[in-house]
């Protein structure tokens, strides 16, 4: 094992799906001990290339060399046996089992007696070594997304991985968690492990990576790019093939009447613990209101209560003066509450696009008409106008640039970013009066982020009220007219001209010092 050979060499890899050439003769090299970023717009073929490497897919053409030897893995299990492990964007853990049990799952050890405490110690030690602190006895369902990711990483490290692939690991993490992950990655790289890091966030790539390969439409557009010799603008151009503006033009406009008013809202989370503690806020027409906070402080529950998917324990949600989920409505069947909220013109971009936002085996068309199928022109009495539905879907596919061979393609075949576009297309095209946007740009490439942000601003201009929940502080600050900060289910304060440092402080629990309210509406409601 001389250090001159590359950890991974992929030569002329070609992979075709029905109607798509996902990888077109791709060459890719990973050196030993480096952190190599793989960049590319949505559907460029990044995940596919990595899946070819780990044997989940079989490339039709091309060769793979691991540490200089030609290899062909028949399965991820095969790959991990040769030291290559991948953390997928959607985790594959068993929720009801402990961390240790999940790490050991599928291994031949322990042989006879489940001496779990022995392994608990081993796993805790391994976690400490790499800065992946975790309680080995905790059950997966008790862990945050960031902690689950640590379990996934420990899982492959435990199997002796020397080459690690992380597919959009930061998309689900809060800023501090990203910092911690980066520390871990640096420790691993210093130990001589080689890392492939996929991300759409150019800042991150510039921070963590040594070298960069850029894919576009299944082809390599730039390889062997040194981070020291490039910049964000150039990378963006390589990815999307045009210049990307990082500034947004937000026009000044005076917000209209209150569309969403939330009064003293309390709710519990899935574990039955208090998630929202007496929250009050409001959003006006033609206004984007940001909700800042570290993930897990009640944002998801708030969005679910507003959209009728979760019942509050106290308080009310008022949309256009109409009480939606308060005591008066408490006896109504939940499905009808959701219906009424949708009918009131509330769109919802859910946080979990695969489990909530789409139906994987239904076609793109069927996924796009999920909210519109009840009304003309898609509905025609009891029937669905199949032709109209197809036409509508086709035009949305074109205008939202959803990359797929046809609208008959099942949603599960879309790349992560294209699935997000599908949801955006559906929700925005409904011309909502109120939009609850949870992490709307998560997983999108720079070009797509730019166009989504434009769309949100266009909605604002058209008079929609938008509640934007995002962990991207820059995005929140750039788009929002006002920002609320949520911490442990309470509103810590409200800001008009938000500054990152001040936001950061409030996100960790310090209340706003000057309690002067920014918007009059708040006082009206109290």
């Amino acid at each position: 094992m001389e250090s001159s050979v590359n950890a991974v060499e992929m030569k002329s890899i070609t992979k075709r799906f029905p109607g798509v050439l996902a990888n077109d003769a791709i060459d890719f090299t990973l050196r030993k001990g480096e952190i190599h970023a793989l960049l590319g717009e949505n559907g460029a073929g990044k995940s596919t290339l990595m899946n070819c490497l780990t044997g989940l897919y079989n490339a039709e053409h091309g060769a793979i060399l691991i540490n200089g030897d030609v290899m062909l893995f028949r399965s991820p299990r095969d790959a991990i046996a040769h030291g290559i492990g991948m953390v997928h964007q959607h985790f594959m853990l068993v929720p009801s089992q402990s961390v240790t049990e999940n790490v050991l799952l599928g291994l031949d050890e322990p042989r006879f007696r489940l001496n779990l405490s022995h392994y608990d110690v081993k796993i805790a030690a391994m976690g400490k070594q790499y800065g992946l602190e975790i309680d080995p006895q905790a059950k997966i369902w008790q862990l945050s997304v960031g902690e689950q990711q640590r379990v996934e990483i420990i899982k492959i490290l435990y199997r002796g991985a020397t080459i690690l692939i992380l597919d959009e690991p930061t998309a689900v993490l809060a800023p501090q968690e990203i910092e911690e992950l980066f520390k871990t990655l640096r420790v691993m790289a210093a130990e001589g492990k080689s890392i492939i890091f996929i991300s759409h966030k150019l800042d991150e790539v510039m921070t963590i990576a040594d070298r960069i390969t850029v894919l576009r439409k299944g082809k390599v557009t730039a390889s062997d790019v040194l981070v020291s010799g490039t910049n964000k603008a150039e990378l963006a151009r390589l990815m999307v093939g045009r210049d990307v503006l990082f500034e947004l033009e937000k026009e000044q406009q005076t917000p209209g009447e209150i569309v969403l008013a939330i009064e003293n809202l309390s709710a519990q989370n899935d574990k039955g613990l208090a998630a929202l503690r007496g929250i009050s806020l409001h959003v006006r027409a033609g206004e984007i209101v940001g909700l800042a906070g570290v993930a897990g402080n009640g944002q998801s529950e708030l969005a679910e209560v507003i959209t009728g998917l979760r019942r509050p324990t106290a308080g009310n949600v008022v949309v256009h003066g109409q009480s939606m989920v308060g005591e008066r409505a408490a006896k109504v069947a939940p499905a009808r509450v959701v219906r009424r909220i949708i009918d009131a013109g509330v769109a919802h971009i859910p946080e979990d696009r695969t489990h909530v936002g789409t139906a994987p085996n239904l076609s793109i068309t069927d996924n796009l008409i999920m909210k519109a199928y009840r009304e003309a022109p898609i509905a025609q009495g009891w029937a669905i106008n199949h032709q109209k539905a197809t036409e509508t879907a086709e035009s949305l596919r074109v205008s939202y640039e959803i990359l797929a061979p046809t609208v008959e393609t099942p949603a599960r075949m879309l790349s992560g970013g294209n699935l997000q576009r599908l949801i955006l297309a559906r929700e925005i095209s409904s011309e909502p009066k109120l939009m609850i946007a949870m992490q709307p740009t998560r997983g999108l490439d720079v070009g797509a982020i730019e166009s989504v942000q434009r769309m949100l601003l266009a909605q604002r201009k058209a008079g929609a009220a938008i509640l934007l929940v995002s962990e991207e502080l820059n995005e929140l600050i750039a788009l929002s007219d006002r920002i609320y900060v949520i911490y442990e289910g309470e509103i810590m304060g409200e800001m008009k001209e938000a500054k990152t440092e001040e936001l950061g402080l409030m996100m960790t629990g310090s209340r706003q010092v000057d309690s002067e309210k920014i918007d009059q509406g708040q006082r009206d409601n109290n």
């Binding site: 009728g308 239904l362 069927d366």
Partner: protein
């Protein structure tokens, strides 16, 4: 979409072929000649107009129970109570004739629709119960619908043995002619070739039902909701779809279809209510629905295949062979489905790793 559709059909066809081969091997091992047996079986079920007509007669209840299972399975409601719903449908239809709600001299134009309605309603009621229990109390529908089968059979027996027993025999009196679904042979006066053909109007009911169910599943708003719930209930909830109500409605539709099968069988073939009206049509419907990949139109040819197998069982010795084939089809189907969905690998213990 296209690809997975073709794959599904290929799997189904493959399962049938594998079953024929395995069955052939078994035939060979017990000293038979597989080729001759199969030719004989084919002749016994498709060889002449007469047996073809018998095959279609056997396929008729299967189409309806297959549809019953398919519509429920679409929503991932595992209704395995089609057998009981079949019996209840037969009961409901009989009640119209035997209670009697309508006299023997009623016009068939009124009598038959009334029997269809009563059969479908009785079956729907039998589907409603597990549907309601599932929607309201989250009771597992596999268990409740299975239990309902036993209740249905006991219920029918009570009426066969006691209330409607004909002179102490375990069967009801024969229905009046007005309660018989017309058979092809009825028209032999104008077309002699139809002489003795048993295929009855139930086949038309089955075919029409298949087209309607196809339309519901793929072209109606309700069918869209059913497919969405079946694929991702959380997305359905997010779209504001009432899952509880659909659970009840789909179980009722499923029960109504199986009930229609029961009606068609006693009104078209047996002409009385008795104990042995089903050799497990409701259970075979499960296999048929699965083999047809839950596609209502494909259920038609699959049902004809199974009708042929049942018929061939009457003709060949040992008569167990067709049943054996049915069993092997089911097993190879489940196995191939399973192997497609999960990759099973046999690995050596990794000592060195």
């Amino acid at each position: 979409m296209d690809q997975s559709k073709w794959l599904g059909l290929a799997v189904s066809t493959g399962a049938v072929v594998v079953a024929l081969i395995l069955g052939g091997v078994i035939l060979f091992l017990v000293g038979g000649n597989p080729v001759r047996t199969y030719i004989f079986m084919a002749k016994a079920s498709f060889g002449s107009l007469g047996v073809l007509s018998d095959t279609l007669t056997k396929a008729t209840p299967l189409i309806l129970t297959g549809l019953a299972c398919a519509i429920a399975f679409r929503m991932r409601l595992w209704n395995i109570g089609a057998e009981g719903q079949f019996f209840l449908g037969a009961f409901g239809a009989s009640a119209v004739v035997l209670t009697p709600l309508l006299g023997a001299d009623t016009s068939p134009w009124i009598m038959l629709p009334a029997m269809m309605l009563a059969g479908a309603l009785a079956g729907a009621l039998w589907g409603f119960i597990p549907g309601y229990l599932k929607a309201r109390f989250d009771v597992n529908e596999i268990i409740s619908s299975l239990m309902m089968n036993y209740i249905a059979i006991a219920w029918n027996n009570f009426f066969i043995f006691a209330v409607w027993s004909e002179g102490g025999f375990q069967m009801s009196p024969q229905f009046p002619r007005s309660a018989w679904l017309p058979r092809l042979t009825n028209y032999s006066q104008s077309a002699p070739i139809l002489q003795g053909l048993t295929t009855h109007m139930g086949l038309i009911i089955g075919l029409v039902a298949a087209v309607i169910i196809w339309w519901i599943v793929f072209r109606s708003r309700w069918g869209y909701e059913i497919r969405l719930i079946g694929d991702n209930p959380r997305a359905a909830r997010y779209a504001g779809i009432n899952i509880a109500r659909n659970t009840i409605l789909v179980m009722m539709l499923s029960g109504a279809l199986a009930g229609l099968a029961g009606m068609s069988e006693i009104s078209g073939v047996v002409h009385r209510l008795q104990g042995s009206i089903s050799p497990g049509y409701g259970f075979t419907g499960i296999i048929i629905a699965w083999l047809a990949k839950l596609n209502p139109l494909i259920i038609i040819p699959v049902s004809i295949l199974f009708g042929a197998l049942i018929l061939a069982g009457r003709e060949i010795q040992p008569s167990g062979i067709p049943t054996l084939l049915q069993g092997i089809i089911l097993v190879s189907l489940i196995a191939s489905d399973f192997l497609l969905r999960y990759k099973i690998r046999f690995t050596k213990r990794t000592q060195e790793a």
